[in-house]
């Protein structure tokens, strides 16, 4: 059977739907981008005005801003499904549950990628960090980080979407899980910006790849349980 192809088609349809809705409604990107910008600005106040210190802290600030804004973005993307009980409708379709998860995670990944790239650019400008010379490793890091946040965030948004106090519970549950991702992404970014003097960049990227794969598999295997009430 070409079951896997069907699943890929379903996932693409869901992701495309999210993308179209996002392009028209801009529920997830605009507000969260603004939020990330404010976070960066406040970090500048908290650590500045010494430019050297800010540049040193830039990788950490970059990823904290991305993670905080990312949780909001993924949550917004899931709220799209609760506005009119669309998640319930989604659960009714005769398609593999993991395809639904893959579709939502893919949509989240697209949003996270936009967010990551823009925040990276903002960090480059605000904290006087030379991102142009190391653009390839930086972009790889952002892609892997975005994927991990989307994988974990989508999954936990599914856990909390029908819960009381979900605004608190979502970050509370997601942030500790994302700790390895934050660690790996910050280290990879720092290594990339420094020109990778210790040759550790590859190891950190591998850690991110492993994290992404494991979390995607865990999400795909269990998301179906969350769809049934």
């Amino acid at each position: 059977m070409n079951g896997l192809r069907t699943e890929a088609r379903v996932a693409m349809a869901i992701a495309r739907k999210d993308a179209v809705a996002e392009l028209r409604g801009r529920h997830a990107t605009v507000s969260t981008l603004f939020f990330a910008a404010v976070v960066l600005l406040l970090f500048g106040f908290a650590l500045g005005p010494d430019a050297r210190r800010l540049a040193e802290a830039a990788p950490g600030l970059l990823w904290l801003a991305i993670v905080f804004a990312g949780i909001l973005a993924v949550n917004r993307l899931h709220l799209l499904e609760t506005d009119d009980a669309a998640l319930e409708q989604l659960a009714l379709y005769p398609v593999a549950r993991r395809a639904i998860y893959a579709g939502k995670a893919l949509g989240g990944f697209a949003v996270m990628l936009v967010l990551g790239v823009v925040v990276l650019g903002a960090v480059g400008i605000l904290f006087a960090v030379d991102i142009a010379s190391a653009w390839l490793p930086l972009l790889s890091t952002v892609i892997l980080g975005a994927m991990g946040i989307a994988a974990v965030g989508t999954f936990y948004a599914g856990v909390t979407v029908r819960m009381r106090a979900r605004e608190v519970m979502l970050p509370l549950l997601v942030l500790p899980v994302l700790a390895p991702l934050l660690l790996g992404a910050v280290r990879a970014t720092a290594a990339a910006l420094a020109g990778d003097p210790f040759g550790e960049l590859g190891a950190w990227l591998q850690l991110l790849v492993a994290f992404d794969l494991i979390m995607l598999m865990a999400g795909a295997a269990t998301y179906g349980f969350l769809l049934e009430d």
């Binding site: 999954f155 936990y156 856990v159 819960m163 009381r164 106090a165 519970m169 509370l172 549950l173 942030l175 500790p176 899980v177 700790a179 390895p180 660690l183 790996g184 280290r187 210790f198 550790e200 190891a203 950190w204 850690l207 492993a210 994290f211 494991i214 979390m215 865990a218 269990t222 349980f225 969350l226 009430d229």
Partner: protein
């Protein structure tokens, strides 16, 4: 009854382990008396990991077999695991201050990992409190517990690398006491403490599980009671109608 005997044995074992650790074992050459904290600290950390393993397995069994008793096991593991995690962190801090000069040593991967563990499983317990329906609660908790358990080794590796790849001076950690060169008395005391704490853990797990079962049974009884009441009222109505006819 057997559980009660286990309780007494565990109590005796923990008290003797504490006496041995505090007064019998000689102080470490380098670290002096502070080293004594290592015994309950390491034992607590070990049992915390065991508890969270139990939580993950219980959750998977619930998803698979749909028997709420497995969820009760998972809950017991999480609650007791959080307690032992807190002990491990506390012990680590009390041990770090005299040895390192600071309560919190970021360079120590175990301490930071354990702190994240605490955050993960406090979240797990909160999630349980915020979901009323027993089946929904069990499902959500099972999934969160499973992902948390999967996350633990990744957290551990990343934190190890975080330190290791950054080429900082290696510092003393509790595990260093277990070098092959370490005197056997230290190893023996640690193993003894571990055994004693494990007995206490087993006793507490059994009691916590009994409590969870009792709560489960009460919930179930209430649910069935409600059903019976509705059904009886309907049957009553039906027989009245038939009598009238």
């Amino acid at each position: 009854m057997k559980t009660r005997i286990l309780g007494f044995v565990a109590l005796a074992a923990v008290v003797s382990a504490a006496i041995v650790g505090l007064f019998v074992v000689p102080p470490d050459l380098n670290q002096g008396d502070a080293q004594r904290i290592m015994y309950p600290h390491v034992a607590s950390a070990w049992l915390a990991y065991l508890s969270f393993g139990v939580t993950a397995v219980g959750g998977v069994l619930w998803l698979w077999r749909r028997d709420l008793r497995f969820d009760a096991v998972a809950l017991s593991g999480a609650e007791i695991g959080v307690m032992f995690t807190a002990f491990a962190i506390w012990g680590g801090m009390m041990w770090g201050r005299p040895v390192w000069g600071v309560f919190w040593q970021w360079e120590d991967p175990r301490l930071t990992t354990t702190a994240l563990l605490l955050a993960l499983y406090v979240g797990y317990l909160l999630l349980r409190r915020l979901t009323e329906d027993p089946e929904r609660r069990a499902t959500r908790a099972a999934i969160v517990g499973l992902v948390a358990a999967i996350d633990i080794p990744i957290v551990h590796f990343s934190v190890e690398w975080w330190r290791g790849l950054h080429q900082t001076a290696t510092i003393a950690s509790p595990e260093r006491a277990l070098d092959p060169a370490a005197p056997m008395v230290f190893v023996g005391t640690l193993m003894g403490t571990l055994a004693a704490f494990s007995l206490a853990w087993l006793y507490l797990m059994i009691r916590r599980y009994e409590l969870a079962r009792a709560e489960l049974a009460r919930e179930e009884e209430a649910r069935r009671g409600r059903l019976r009441a509705v059904q009886a009222a309907a049957a009553n109505l039906r027989s009245q109608e038939e009598a009238a006819r």
